[in-house]
């Protein structure tokens, strides 16, 4: 199986280039991450992030044949050869397939991804009915791999100002939480033309999310909350 992999080492390379690799021993059911590990045995200088190997940690997000995804849950059988692998688009490349996720995490931090409660803390747990809990389904599963934000044109054009689908999905995760009491404050923070409203429902995020989540729907729900808040 043939691979073309984006290589860039800022210490030795002037520019990035694509390098060809061939992997002979392909076992059935092999994932792309396994192949990359085998290729790393051939060429130890190849660098990529990975950890859990089962689509839970979100470390090995990369652009596979033009589409963002997690290498560890992408079966080799599903890929056309030569498999072209690049780092996720729109992020500063540190080396090969490793990108600087600093800005992505900055936006995540900015939406305050934790419960904010103004009342005195209860002596027991925060109570939540099963119906209220159900509202968090499709939101809490996000693993912050960054596939969505890095496939979003609005995020490419304004990565410093637009929060991006991942952070906005999480913003809605806390807005939708019955235990959170900072709705007004959260909505206020997302006001303005950039942070939320650069989303033009392009839906690349929905298309690529390896967990099958729908950030566009979450963003629309935030907009609805804003309208409700205003009326």
């Amino acid at each position: 199986m043939r691979f073309r992999i984006y290589r860039y080492n800022p210490e030795t390379d002037q520019k990035p280039h694509m390098q060809e690799y061939v992997l002979e021993e392909i076992q059935p059911g092999m994932m792309l991450r396994d192949a990359l590990l085998k290729l790393k045995e051939q060429d130890e200088t190849l660098v990529f992030r990975h950890s859990c190997g089962e689509g839970v940690c979100g470390s090995d997000a990369m652009n596979i044949n033009g589409r963002n995804g997690l290498a560890c849950i992408t079966p080799l059988e599903s890929l056309k050869t030569p498999v072209e692998i690049r780092p996720v688009p729109g992020m500063p490349v540190i080396r090969d397939l490793v990108v600087d996720m600093g800005q992505f995490y900055h936006h995540y931090r900015a939406i305050k991804p934790y419960l904010i409660v103004h009342d005195p803390e209860p002596e027991v747990e925060y109570r939540q009915s099963p119906e209220e809990r159900e509202k968090l389904d499709g939101l809490y599963e996000c693993i912050l791999c960054g596939c969505c934000s890095t496939s979003c044109p609005s995020f490419w054009w304004n990565p410093d100002k637009f929060r991006g689908p991942a952070a906005l999905l999480q913003a809605y995760r806390f807005l939708a939480d019955s235990r959170d009491q900072a709705t007004a404050q959260r909505l206020e923070e997302l006001e303005g033309p950039y942070r939320l409203f650069r989303c033009h429902t392009i839906m690349n995020c929905v298309n690529v999310c390896p967990k099958g989540l729908n950030p566009t729907a979450a963003i629309n729900n935030i907009k609805k909350l804003m309208v409700k808040d205003m009326v």
């Binding site: 044109p153 054009w157 006001e191 033309p193 650069r198």
Partner: protein
């Protein structure tokens, strides 16, 4: 938020009005110039058309602004083009208003 809401509301009006016009166009015979003037001269039609042009211009303004904010990162250039777009839309608006007023007045 306001811009987005205006965009949505104007879109609703535009699509409803266009559907109405399409329906009307398919079910009516060709009109002569005088019949046209009569039709637009009716208060209901004049107001609906006035609203249509306002909605159209506002919709175009918000949309163009969105596109320019996305694709023209240079603030000075963006501002310059925005002013151009604003003047153009304003001119169209005044033109449409003048025509409507002229038709209704006579």
């Amino acid at each position: 938020m306001r811009a987005w809401l205006i965009q949505r509301l104007s879109a609703v009006y535009l699509s409803l009005f266009l559907l109405y016009v399409l329906f009307w166009w398919l079910t009516t015979d060709r009109l002569s110039y005088t019949e046209w003037r009569q039709l637009i001269g009716q208060p209901f039609m004049a107001v609906a058309l006035g609203l249509f042009f306002s909605a159209l211009l506002v919709h175009a303004w918000v949309g163009m602004r969105d596109v320019l904010v996305d694709y023209i990162p240079h603030i000075g250039l963006r501002f310059f083009i925005l002013i151009g777009v604003a003047l153009f839309l304003l001119a169209l608006g005044i033109w449409a208003a003048l025509i409507l007023v002229a038709v209704v007045m006579i």
